[in-house]
């Protein structure tokens, strides 16, 4: 029996936009395949040893909450997170969590906040928020041989730019994505997956959820030979309805 250990970082603080949905998707899709799965909450003051986990999740938060975790994440957990990233640990980072993995956040009035610097990307604040449904296409994940169309909802004022070692997660078909100008959404570095699509990203995009689960199990078990298929009628209906509505 395979085992999957998920770490939810700062669940009490970075949880603004239905981030539990991503944890639930990983958990249920593992359970439905009889994979033994556990979710551990790690927050301010708790020790974080990345060796104990197979997938680490960082959600989004409001400015107020992000200010609160700032010190803990930089001084207490920062080195461990960076080592885990370089060691190819699987991460999913959404919205505020995505920005936090980068080098810095420059507010619209010029103040520069130092972030983790685990990935070569940076964010510049803007007065205008980019809010709405988003569809993007990722060549990193195959949907019957075609790039996977991923559906989500974005709500961010920061504009994120990627350094040379970082690939975007996908190409924007509708919406703003990373910065509203270069046409890309999200970031992938080693096994770290970042996106501005919050809330129900994984439940509604089950192939992406399975991709992360597979990556994690591949790391852990030499003999891992892939996941069996699940019945995804509701998930696909939710995704297709939005793709049709948005891209028509």
């Amino acid at each position: 029996m395979y085992q999957l250990k998920i770490c939810h970082l700062y669940p009490d603080l970075l949880n603004t936009y239905g981030d539990m949905g991503n944890i639930l998707a990983l958990k249920r899709r593992a359970q439905w395949r009889n994979i033994d799965v556990s979710v551990t909450n790690v927050t301010i003051g708790d020790s974080f040893d990345s060796e104990e986990y197979d997938i680490v999740f960082l959600g989004g938060g409001q400015d107020y909450e992000q200010e609160i975790i700032q010190k803990d994440v930089l001084t207490q957990k920062g080195t461990e997170i960076k080592n885990a990233v370089e060691g190819s640990k699987v991460f999913l980072c959404i919205c505020g969590g995505y920005q936090l993995m980068g080098k810095y956040y420059k507010t619209w009035d010029g103040k520069e906040l130092e972030y983790l610097g685990a990935i070569d990307l940076w964010t510049i604040g803007s007065k205008e928020r980019m809010i709405g449904n988003i569809v993007f296409e990722s060549e990193l994940i195959s949907d019957n041989g075609s790039p996977l169309k991923i559906v989500g909802f974005e709500n961010h004022s920061g504009r994120t730019y990627l350094g040379e070692s970082v690939r975007p997660l996908g190409k924007v078909l509708f919406g703003n994505g990373n910065n509203g100008t270069d046409g890309f959404e999200g970031a992938v570095y080693k096994n770290v997956y970042c996106s501005y699509s919050h809330g129900s990203l994984l439940p509604k995009n089950p192939l992406l959820a399975d991709h992360l689960i597979s990556l994690a199990l591949k790391q852990k078990y030499d003999k891992f030979d892939g996941l069996n298929q699940l019945e995804d009628a509701f998930e696909n209906a939710a995704r297709f309805t939005m793709i049709q509505r948005i891209l028509k």
């Binding site: 009490d12 603004t16 239905g18 981030d19 809010i131 709500n155 129900s200 439940p203 509604k204 509701f234």
Partner: protein, 467 residues
């Protein structure tokens, strides 16, 4: 004689008439027209009224309706805005309807429900005598931005008001209660006493876990639900203020009523005796609504007797919990719009011992919130505690498919979950699955409620909602 004002009133009244004849409701457009013609129209009309305002995230409508009952029981003639016309334009329409073409008021009292994000705008035009603030929860963040910006906007709205304005605040909500901190205005608080809510445990996914003044982590003596309860900050000492009206015990909590024991402080009322009152609505959140309204009524010096009578006798607001009888069966329509309210509804549905037939109608139009991620913050997992009583779960609305995904991932039996997009079929199939004497619960978001109510109205002869 201000001809511009008279012209504006007459033209707006005419717009209301025409829209009513066209059966368009006409609650917001006339107000918009009026502002274009005369930006000071609301200020100029409303100054002749004694205004009571109700704002906050959850419970505005129910609280307003109970206050309305208190006014009725005291023979006060009043005007009020119903049917969710609680933005600046809707409130303006309400006032224009209430005056003669020359701008003379027909009544002296106005009970106004204001959207929390619009409150700051509205108080530029109104000078209320009392303001009731119910609570702050995350709600439609795509529209409001961040929760703290909503709180700050309400605070700026209150700061604008003169020092005689009485504030009625929720003591158990650290955000709401902070509005009473360092203000010169008279403040009355309402809340649950420690003994009334000791059984409730902590919920990790809540708003406001950290002190609004110093960012220390709150500790709690008791939890009611969400972030509501006996909070205190060990670092700066900010804590739940003493409540002037306090629920000291829940005697009985049924699926359609709650019996509470409560008492008042000397500051609020001469009557400090303990009272037992049966509120004709289930759920702790309705106890808050009743307490908010009662505190408002007592602060306006209405008698204990009429206040208590009103808590016991009020009818429910539009779609908040309407019951429609269909032969031996009934339909209950309950509006859902954010995680905390939804959780409370699920809570009392599982309290019942009847079979559960529920339809979830989820839209993502502007008035619902275009982001439906909040469904993942609702504790649908709680339905598993009643899984053997669940007969039929229908999901519908524009985002009915997403709702089905949410229910599936909560671990419920997918064989009981069906996506039905057509509302006529939702009603027919829902009722069909209910046994005689049973109830079919329909839980819609705001615009889905307008739609389903329109169909139910035709089918079963309901009242027009603006009456």
């Amino acid at each position: 004689m201000n001809f511009r004002k008279i012209f504006t009133i007459i033209l707006s009244k005419l717009t209301i008439r025409i829209l009513r004849i066209l059966k368009k409701g006409g609650t917001t457009l006339p107000g918009k027209v009026a502002f274009k013609l005369y930006p000071d129209i609301l200020k100029s009309i409303a100054k002749d009224f004694e205004v009571i305002m109700v704002t906050g995230t959850n419970g505005k409508t129910t609280t307003s309706r109970i206050i309305e009952e208190i006014l009725k029981n005291n023979n006060v003639d009043y005007i009020t805005n119903k049917s969710g016309a609680n933005l600046l334009s809707g409130i303006t329409t309400t006032f224009i309807q209430a005056v003669s073409p020359l701008g003379k008021p027909k009544h002296k009292t106005a009970l106004i429900e204001s959207d929390e994000a619009a409150f700051n705008q509205v108080t530029k035009h109104l000078q209320p005598k009392s303001v009731v603030v119910t609570n702050f929860f995350r709600d439609q963040l795509d529209r409001y931005g961040e929760l703290y910006s909503t709180l700050n906007a309400v605070k700026s709205g209150l700061d604008r008001l003169d020092e005689k304005t009485t504030l009625i605040l929720n003591a158990d909500d650290s955000m709401c209660a902070s509005l009473g901190h360092e203000t010169e205005k008279p403040v009355f608080y309402y809340g649950f006493g420690e003994a009334a809510s000791q059984q409730n445990s902590e919920n990790i996914n809540t708003d406001a876990m950290f002190c609004i003044f110093c960012k220390g982590k709150y500790q709690y003596k008791n939890h009611v639900y969400g972030h509501l309860g006996g909070f205190y900050c060990p670092e700066c000492g900010y804590s739940r203020p003493a409540a002037d009206l306090e629920c000291i015990g829940i005697q009985e909590a049924g699926s359609s009523y709650t019996t509470i024991k409560w008492k008042c402080s000397k500051a609020l009322s001469a009557d400090e005796a303990e009272h037992t009152t049966r509120i004709n609505l289930p759920g702790l959140y309705n106890v808050y609504n009743a307490m908010a309204a009662a505190t408002c009524g007592l602060s306006l010096a209405y008698s204990h007797e009429t206040v208590q009578k009103s808590m016991e006798s009020f009818e429910c607001g539009f779609g908040r919990m309407e019951t429609i009888n269909v032969g031996d069966k009934s339909i209950k329509l309950i509006l859902v719009k954010n995680p905390t309210g939804f959780n409370q509804v699920l809570n009392f549905l599982t309290l019942d011992s009847q079979p559960l037939n529920i339809a979830f109608l989820i839209n993502d139009k502007l008035a619902d919130g275009t982001d439906i991620s909040w469904l993942w913050d609702v504790d649908f997992e709680h339905l598993n505690t009643a899984s053997d009583r669940i007969v039929n779960l229908i999901t519908s609305g524009i985002r009915g498919e997403d709702m089905a995904v949410r229910l599936k991932y909560s671990g419920l039996d997918t064989k009981k979950i069906r996506i039905i997009k057509d509302y006529h079929r939702v009603i027919d199939e829902g009722l069909k699955a209910v046994a005689d004497g049973g109830c079919f619960y329909i839980l819609p978001t705001y615009t889905a409620m307008l739609d389903i109510r329109g169909i139910l109205k035709k089918k079963f002869n309901l009242k027009e909602f603006w009456k």
